[in-house]
Symmetry: C4
Subunit: 281 residues, 4 copies
């Protein structure tokens, strides 16, 4: 009879863990949705308290409140982290997953600051908690946004080769123009080394244009003008790529017909026969 | 007989109100069109007088003229506001509608400034009147622009889920990069708190690049360069989304007619005969 | 016999004028092409000499050369202008056309500077000559570029209503945000009047971001950040509009088929019958 | 027998040269791929050492190491250059090709600096080595990226006429606005000459907006605002052009196969049977 009891106890344990798993890790059940939304609100509030803490005037007025908030959220996230490890089918896989590492990094700094040795160094590290905002992307699992996010990701993924060609071209331009400007604007502050000139080249090419570094000599200005035109024209290319890709992805989405014979998908709207096995659609 | 008289009077009242309603609220009749155009001109002139009043040199030369203009437009808009309440079938619904609140806010400040107590505080509030410019969008009701505005709105509306995904991604990037830069550029003016660093991150990511805040350390510059590339690349995605959406919206507008004979679709808006089987459409 | 002589003389005159007209005004004959290219080179050189003259260091070294060049081009363009009037079938129509006025304005300043009374005022006006560069667009008549320029113009023209809606939206945003920032940033240099705030709003919204004017208060910075996001997102809309328009214009260009019965154009590639009169294509 | 020996020797020579040619110039064989990747790594390292050398603080700490690296890469590239000449079927054609000149320029500066006469002048010229990065584009020969790069190049090439029209329009706008601003902002630093005003016009039109030069007078600010709107709107046009071009290029790639039975076109690349009549393709 003790065996059955043990079985029951194991069953209860399994039930508890699977329920817990459904709530924490999945987002399809009502409880899971609620948990995800509450967690997101907690993350948003903890990031907000972090922001307020970084503003000196606010921090000096409410030091106790902000410190309490920090400890409250740290303990809350520690409980959540422990639960995740407890109910995950493969705890190690979760711990070393991207979100697992982020979850650990989000709670560590507060404990480290409490230790006297790490006090000075770890103070700023609590901003790592902002990374937990990435969990907001989980919210997309909740709604029909998932398909939108998926089609966006697919469009970007489909144009990855073109974007790689494009980025290679930009980076080579930045190195060459940066080197050239270092040579031309020798002596102008901000062009003292090639890495600094490359920083200027990126600032210019992306049309950000801070103005903290700007060419002074006529030759440098001419080169800068050419580079701006290049940067201005270059945004066209990837825009066109992704635009065409999304348009064609949209076109593909219309084709939801499946061949009754070979079960292949992706047939055009006007197709009368399967293009893979010639079966009538 | 007095009853008939009362009826007549009621009829006259009703006629007056419905005529007034047609002129003020609708834009299909010639009188309604004229009223809308005149109102828009009055709004433009009142905003122009507001602008001129804010320029010190002009304000000191013509204080009487500008003050007269302000009172003239305030009284004009007060009359219009009264008429709108008078002839609206449901006055309360108008008063609490968006345009009703804007119309009230546009005339209040001038009266408040006249009262001694509000004098100082209300002076600047007259700029609220600029909100009345939103009535310019009513002008689109006049012409064929309505359909253009509608198709634009529909394209943006159709891509709202994708844009939401995109904006979430931008905001999370801004928070994370802002926090990171606050950590990296500790001590540089402009990165004193996370909200300030986030302001910098938005200025950089949107490629505005004022240059009032810019990174100084090599690590900060490297991170800024990465962020610029990200911001530069990111404009591509929504452009592609809306572009594809407008293209497909334009495509849909053509394909709405079906041939009664061969059931083919895709006929142009101006087609009179089926282009596949010559049947009359 | 004197009549015939007069006729001959008239014929010769007519021939001379029509030949001259063909060379100067048209671009289809080899002589016309050559004239257009030579004229464009002369305009480019005259603009180049203008540019060099405006640089003080160059102007002080070669005052005689630059002055000679100015007079040379002025006299050349005067001769061209006289010829154009002489051989145009309707001289007045040419004189009051856009190019006629530009041609006159291009030669006037040099003569006016020579007169003692206008000396000071007219000195800068010679830059008007840069407007003659617009003649470069005539070069498009020479080659197959004409059709490209035409299809571009048509794409922009076809989307004019959408662009008008878009520009109205931008201008209203600029006025409202400019007024709001004038209220919020009261006292910050650069936000002293609504027109100045509007200038800032345009600089920010178009993502130019000089940085000569930038918000200082937290509220102003928040509003600026919102406006940047708006400006960043707004470039998407017209890009999508024109992009879709050009794509559909490209699609239309394929349709060069003409109905043999009703002579209508614009039939689709796959059309078998005229969509207007049901005639077989 | 000596003849045979000579033949053998010639054969060996030919074999050696053709093997060498395959490795160095081609990228299809495994050895060629390996060579290209190793060469690219060597180029990247040499550019990196150049960058580090330009940073004063690093250069003063490790002068010997950086000098050694420079000589190591110079000698390596000299050997590679000699081998290319040695095994190229037509050495002169290689020497005067684009890559041949770049390869020579990449090794020359180090030798020139060693000579006492050129010491001062040639020091900066070693940055020319950055041009060798262009060899990175050869890497595209390795993979499927070639077709992507090709389709990108074709899309840009197909829209070259439209881009030419667009660039002409921008350049003329820059000259005219530059001249006008030189006239309007007479006396403001940065608008002293037309070329300087044109530099400002390009900085503004491409939305870079350094802020080192910015208009001061109300008229100048108004003109600048108009120009920003123009520049902001103008990026739309080429984006639309290339976008439509890439979309149609993508569309064309699909439609190359024709059904042998019903002669229908527009079959997908992976189709095995005609989607209209079920005939095998």
């Amino acid at each position: 009879m003790s065996e059955t009891k043990q079985d029951d106890s194991q069953d209860a344990d399994r039930n508890w863990r699977s329920t817990c798993y459904e709530i924490i890790f999945e987002a399809d059940t009502p409880a899971g949705k609620t948990f995800d939304v509450l967690l997101l609100i907690a993350i948003l509030l903890s990031v907000l308290s972090l922001m307020l803490e970084s503003v000196d005037s606010i921090q000096q007025k409410n030091p106790v409140l902000l410190r309490s908030a920090e400890w409250f959220f740290t303990i809350l996230f520690t409980i959540e982290y422990s639960l995740r490890i407890a109910c995950a089918p493969r705890p190690l896989r979760y711990i070393f997953s991207f979100y697992g590492v982020v979850d650990l990094l989000a709670i560590l700094p507060t404990y480290l600051v409490a230790l006297p040795i790490f006090h000075e160094r770890a103070q700023g590290l609590s901003v790592i908690r902002a990374l937990r905002l990435l969990r907001a992307f989980r919210i997309f699992k909740l709604a029909h946004m998932l398909s939108e996010a998926k089609s966006l990701r697919e469009a970007i993924w489909a144009s990855r080769a073109k974007i790689a060609v494009f980025l290679t071209f930009i980076l080579i331009s930045v190195v060459i123009v940066g080197s050239a400007m270092h040579l031309i604007e020798r002596g102008t502050p901000g062009f003292d080394s090639i890495p600094e000139s490359m920083y200027w080249a990126i600032v210019t090419m992306t049309t950000v244009g801070y103005g903290d570094i700007s060419p002074v000599t006529p030759a440098g200005k001419t080169m800068a003008a050419c580079m701006m035109m290049l940067g201005y024209c270059m945004i066209i290319v990837p825009t066109g790529i992704v635009s065409a890709e999304i348009a064609s992805a949209g076109g593909k989405m219309v084709t939801t017909r499946t061949c009754p014979n070979c079960m292949s998908e992706g047939h055009d709207q006007d197709a009368q026969y399967c293009k893979y096995c010639s079966e009538e659609l």
